[in-house]
Each structure stands twice: as C-alpha cells, then as structure tokens.
C-alpha cells in the first residue's frame, strides 16, 4: 500500500522534510540528508557573495534528482519582503514551491499572521504552491487554507527551541479543521517529538536544528526518519484508548486454584 505525502502535484514517499542550515560542513549536510531519507529540503535565498566564489557549490551537495528544493522566505518581516524573496526563489529555482515565512517577532520568531495571510493570497494568485509557516492556531490555519495554501505548517514550538509539541490539542484540532496537508514545522528536539507529531495525524514534519544541532547529525537524521515512520504507522494503526486503571492482558480463566 502506498502512503504518500501529496503537495500540489508532487508526491513524496518520505514525510520528513529537512532544512539545510547550521551544518558544520556541506559534506556533513549531504550525509545527514541522505540518512534522513528526506525527499524535500528547504533552502534560503541570499545575495551571492561576490568576494567568495566557493559559495556557489552549495547546490552541488544536494542530489536534485531525488530531492525537491523547497525555498523559504526565512528572515522576512513583511508580506512585501516575503513576496520579493518568493519571486526571486522562483526565478532561481524554476519551481513554484515556496515555504512562506513572515516573522512577527525577533525573540520568539513567531509568525505575523496578518502579513502571512496577505502574502499567501498574493503568491497563490501568482501561481505559487504556498506552504506557510504558521502558529499552531486552527483559525489561522483555516484562513490560510481558504486563501489557497497548498499545506499549512504549524509550529510545534518556537524555531530552534527543541521543546517538542507544546500544544497537542491544537494540532489535533487543526487536523480536524483543514483538509490540506499539515506539516509540523519547528520545535522538534528529538525523535519522540517527531513521532508524537505524526501520531497526532499530521502529514509530515519539517526540521532543521533538531538534526543539524545534534552531536551526531547523521545518526539523529536516521532516528528522525524512523520516528516519522513509526509515528505515521501508529496513527494509521489506531491507538488504544487511554484508561485510568489496568486491564489484564492474560486470560483469567485457567489460573491455578
């Protein structure tokens, strides 16, 4: 049975999306991506450093035959800026996929939902496949879906915090509120966090720091791959209800008198 993540017209067997920042070296990044099994990676758009030509080799470390590039608008604080970055990303990457980030606060890196909605509307009209990074707020997620977002990416916890899924109820409500794919983005600190997200029924998990910041990123990448698979399977399998008291697993009949 195939169980694929579908974003726009693209299909992915892996439900793990990984970032490409914060690695000690590009070689380590390549190995970690491979170990994660991710088929989609996020990249940022920045000025070419014209004094350092070695920079341009970044893309050569990503196997573009099996990996979809998902450019982001990281670092943008207004809809206008984010739209500018998205257009540049489309031109550089010749793909309409965009992970839309519009940050509202430097300290928490929480999104500015008003600007996010504005930018999503404009970019959807321009033909982009928009994946907005948003709060774990069901109302905002619904609004994003209504203006044409191809998926919603609620945070589990603040970016880079490693705190895990802070509000499981909200994630579950979002699951019941929107039909587009849900990708939990940000906050994953270790494998169990990723498994919990998937067990809640979301369609995928995106992470960067959780892998890149681990002592052994390659090993953690594999742990995340397994956790996402395990969480997905557990969700599909249907967990038992939680009960307050024990219920014996072994038959009571036939016990010795």
């Amino acid at each position: 049975m195939s169980d694929e993540l579908v974003i726009g017209s693209r299909k992915f067997r892996s439900r793990l999306i990984v970032g490409t920042g914060k690695y000690a070296s590009l070689a380590l990044m390549r190995e970690a991506i491979e170990s994660s099994g991710a088929e989609m990676v996020t990249v940022a758009v920045r000025r070419v450093d014209l004094s350092d030509k070695s920079q341009e080799s970044f893309l050569s470390y990503i196997d573009q035959d099996r990996t979809t590039i998902l450019p982001n608008t990281a670092g943008c604080y207004t809809a206008e800026e984010a739209i500018r970055y998205a257009r540049l990303a489309r031109e550089a990457g010749l793909s309409e996929l965009i992970k839309l980030e519009v940050i509202g606060d430097e300290k928490t890196l929480f999104p500015d939902n008003e600007e996010l909605l504005k930018a999503t509307k404009v970019l959807v009209k321009e033909g982009f496949i928009v994946l907005p990074y948003t709060n774990d707020d069901p109302v905002v997620c619904k609004k994003l879906e209504d203006v044409g977002a191809a998926a919603v990416m609620p945070l589990g916890a603040p970016i880079g915090s490693g705190l895990g899924i802070q509000n499981m109820n909200n994630i579950r409500i979002i699951r019941e509120t929107v039909r587009v794919p849900i990708i939990v983005d940000a906050g994953v600190g270790t494998a169990s966090d990723a498994a919990i997200a998937m067990e809640l029924g979301v369609d995928g998990v995106l992470m960067n720091t959780g892998i890149a910041g681990a002592t052994d990123p390659i090993k953690m990448a594999r742990a995340m791959k397994l956790a996402v698979e395990a969480g997905r399977l557990a969700y599909l399998a249907g967990r038992i209800p939680r009960k307050l008291y024990a219920s014996a697993s072994s038959p009571l009949e036939g016990v010795l008198a």
Binding site: G21, K22, K53, F58, G75, E91, L109, M207
Partner: protein
C-alpha cells in the same frame, strides 16, 4: 566613497606617465558604475546581465537577478543592458531551514 570621475583600474591601459587626459576619457567611456549587491562597482559600458554574470564567473542556472527591484527573467539576460546607477541584486540558494541568516537588504 568614490568620487564620480575617479580613475578605474583598467588592465592593459596606458601607463599614467604617457597621456593622462587620454586615459581619463578612455576610462569614462568604457566603464559605468552600478550598485552590485549593495556595493559600487565599475562594469563595462554596454554590459548585459548575461555578460556581467559571465565576467563574475557565476553559473546562470543557479541565480536570480533583480535590477532596480524588478526581476529580470533569464530569457531577457542577453539583451538587457545595464545603465549607470542601476541597482543590481544577484541571489542564489544557500543552506537554510528556518531562520539562520540575518536580513541585510
């Protein structure tokens, strides 16, 4: 910091001692100044975006170009000629997940 008519370094130009006035006229007619990724740069008069990228040693497939905040589609790169004072931004993809780079433009 540049004065507008400052001499540009032109490889193979005549030594200063020979004919200074000639050099000044020659330099001014062959070079224009643009703002390239936020820095003033001298480029050859009549440079297209395509020739600028080639001079910079950049691969066309991996960059996007804005001139005065307008994206120039790659089909137009060979014919788009840069004018003095143009503000040119050349961007590409770098490693990034959530947010790791500071905005600086």
């Amino acid at each position: 910091m540049h004065a507008p008519h400052q001499f540009a370094f032109v490889p193979g130009s005549l030594p200063l001692s020979k004919d200074l006035s000639y050099k000044v006229i020659w330099t001014m007619s062959e070079k224009i100044e643009i703002l390239l990724n936020g820095k003033r740069e001298q480029i050859s008069t009549g440079s297209s975006i395509k020739s600028l990228l080639k001079d910079l040693g950049l691969k066309e497939g991996q960059v996007a170009v804005e001139v005065n905040r307008q994206i120039i589609r790659r089909d137009d790169w060979p014919t788009y000629s840069l004018e003095p004072g143009d503000s040119v931004e050349i961007v590409h993809f770098v490693g990034g997940g959530d947010r790791q780079c500071q905005m600086n433009w």
